[in-house]
Amino acid sequence: MMKSLLPQSQLRRSSAAAVRSSGGGAGGGDGAAAADGSGGAGARAPASSTFWFLLHALCCLISLFLGFRFSRFLFFLLFSTTALYHSTTSSSSAAVLRATTTTTTTTTTTTTTTNTFTLSFAASNTPPSGPANRTALEAAAAAAKGSAGAGSGSNPQSHVVVGRHGIRIRPWPHPDPVEVMRAHQIMERVQEEQRRWYGVKEPRQVLAVTPTYSRAFQALHLTGLLHSLRNVPYPLTWIVVEAGGTTNATAAMLARSGLTFIHIPFPDRMPHDWADRHATENRMRLHALRVIRERKMDGVVVFADDSNVHSMELFDEVQKVQWMGAVSVGILAHTGAAEQPRLSEEDKQTMPLPVQGPACNSSGHLAGWHTFNSLPFSGKTATVVGESAPVLPRGLEWAGFVLNSRMLWKEADGKPDWVKDLDAVGENGEEIENPLTLLNDASSVEPLGNCGKKVLLWWLRVEARADSKFPQGWVIEPPLEVVVPAKRTPWPEATNELPSELLDEKQDQEDRRLSRANKSSRPRSTTKRKGDLQGQEN
């Protein structure tokens, strides 16, 4: 529609150019008046051409000073029934009968001049184009065309008028906060309806099982996991198993989290060796599963390791699990060391994806498992926790599996017979590598996440060195022992308590550093800064 006017635009432009060139006045719109004038000059007797020339000059001057829109309006009012009608421009008439163009814009913005006026004229024998069109470049009516236009104009009952309209702007075109609130309420309600129609019908509780232990990065990992779990839109219970017994720091963090949690102590301490750590974690998870069984907790069990990162889609996807499901896990083998094996181009291409998860055949059924290929990392993996070398997963990680908690109960409706009883697992102290050992038949596992095509969480093991110190509960107590006195206080009568030159030197160094950093802005003396320190120390 609008694009279809492109050729027309050229016509218009050429006509406008013709008009303008014939006018040659100072302002742009002045050209209209000029053209009108010059066109009229052609039509009239040559005797009045000087009159028209003078009029043209007058128009130029007024346009110069008042701006072309105002000048056009002025001339319209002055010359509304005179020779302006005899001008012939190449554009057609704005053939409308009812010239009620009501333009009630009242503000002026910096870019558009919106001094349009409320002009309303009843339909009369004056030329069919409305007054607003009169002032338009293109819509000057020709008398001959006017009659034809009147005949083919819009029907009398139509309210819609062709031609130039004002741009209505309200005086304060900014959002009203009450309306913004209402809009957000509307959107909330709409989204609620959407969830009701398309979302999960009966959301099941999520039971997140996390083995953890006290170390430098525990707070880091648990905080991240805590925030992820807080965002889960389903009822959730966080089951935290802590090796070496429960600690106050962890308990405090859980209490502050606002989540429903169960904090379970695990008697053994976490070993420093990765292999042993994996084994201990597996035992901790089994312990948690036993707790779930005892308490007959109902829901979907998700193995949320504290250092993993989970996407929200994971929790939506696990709602679909019947008994046991598998999701794809992205394996981020942390390569902290500088000496990474330089991979050749073909190596990079043949390197399989760092993903562990179910593999489907073409009909969408479970056909096998993708596991992480540890060949490129051979020989360079970390053995001790906190060593700066890649940490690799072992076989299939627990994090990639989700269970229906009813599978763990002693008796549940519809519990399939390919599930082993939980008591029979792990009692002899054997290694429970992955949840598949809970099953008699591993082929009934459901692949989730678009048959494993979507990676829903990432596995990562990042730890500080085992001997890293960190403040208990990340609270600094007692306060720091280093006291930095103020050398120059704002109050001249304050005493110099510690006159040590050492501290002075330190201050000087800092001054120099600061002054190098902000050369022009900062003053030489850093009095204020020291004053702050003084204040802080107190």
């Binding site: 529609m1 609008m2 694009k3 279809s4 006017l5 492109l6 050729p7 027309q8 635009s9 218009r12 057609s92 008439s93 704005a94 053939a95 009501t102 913005t109 558009t112 349009t116 338009a136 470049l137 034809a148 236009g149 083919s152 819009s154 029907n155 009952q157 139509s158 309210h159 819609v160 008028v161 062709v162 031609g163 130039r164 309209h165 004002g166 741009i167 209505r168 702007i169 309200r170 075109p173 900014h174 959002p175 009203d176 309306e179 913004v180 209402r182 809009a183 309420q185 509307i186 959107m187 309600r189 709409v190 989204q191 309806e193 959407q194 969830r195 009701r196 129609w197 398309y198 979302g199």
Partner: protein, 427 residues
Amino acid sequence: MGSSRKRWLPVALLLLAASVLYPGPAAAAAGGEAEHAVQQHSERISGSAGDVLEDNPVGKLKVFIYDLPRKYNKKMVTKDPRCLSHMFAAEIFMHRFLLSSAVRTLNPKEADWFYTPVYTTCDLTNAGLPLPFKSPRVMRSAIQYISNKWPFWNRTDGADHFFVVPHDFAACFHYQEEKAIERGILPLLRRATLVQTFGQENHVCLKEGSIIIPPYAPPQKMQAHLISPDTPRSIFVYFRGLFYDTGNDPEGGYYARGARASLWENFKSNPLFDISTDHPATYYEDMQRAVFCLCPLGWAPWSPRLVEAVVFGCIPVIIADDIVLPFADAIPWEEIGVFVEEKDVPKLDTILTSMPIDDILRKQRLLANPSMKQAMLFPQPAQPRDAFHQILNGLARKLPHPEGVYLQPGDQRLNWTAGPVGDLKPW
């Protein structure tokens, strides 16, 4: 003892009665379970002509297709295949649909309607915009051909013929409104039924009895961009397009009667309004994440945005005074979209936020009705209840032809020399 026994007897009877009654609806629900799930969140649509959106036109009418020479149709498409994908492509696809449709008859004597497959909107510029300058001559030439070769045009002067004219101002054959009004509808089409996209009340270019259709929007392209329906709708108002047409209307106020410019000036800094002139690659996806989609007029009141909004479930906010929307007798647009007058554009945020939430949810339910979405599309091959079938339904509703269709000897005939001189040149 005895009283307790007497007490459980009526209770048992009640339970028995309940168990007899309850399986009834349960069985019915189980039978139509899939449909029930859909209709839970969509509502049946019935317009002023009744519940006609899902009618099947087969058996209700017969259409005879004139066999015009290739230059009127196929040759134009071969010359410029862009005609098949622009928003005026409905004329071509209607022809193809009718050729293989069950309503087609090869015997013109039993036909109710006659179709002339002439593509008047296939003369494209380099930029792909149709030029209407030759269209009157093309149409005239086609009508001359059919009136010379078959007797059916002359016996009714075209009153039982229909033409598809999807251009900006339909059979006025011009893109500029004033010129279109000046030309008026082609005199030769005075008695024929026009199937067009343009619709505005009391306008010269909308004839009584015309069938308004949606503009063509490529169905496969829209299907390819569907996202999951539980993606929350987090954009309140969405619009992408021009506000000022600086090429054709440098001063503003002409394009869209100033309504689009007013939208921009009033709401450019309003966080609820996601409006801009961008051409994002995620245009269709964004519409599916919006609650309201603006469909303001441009140079003509209609726009493909209406089709897109309906397909993507975004409530259309129609800002075009006196517009007539597609299939207005079958689709109750008042209940589906929001109509805002051009003079009320500065108050648009107040209007939209003060809508009762139940209305909004109801509109979304109506939009979710798959028949509604189908009715706006021209899929190839044709599917039931799509726009082709709605056109046929519209034609069927106009049957039987009224008395004055067949001309008597003394009746007024078409004036074959009416109209601008340029139109009379042969093509």
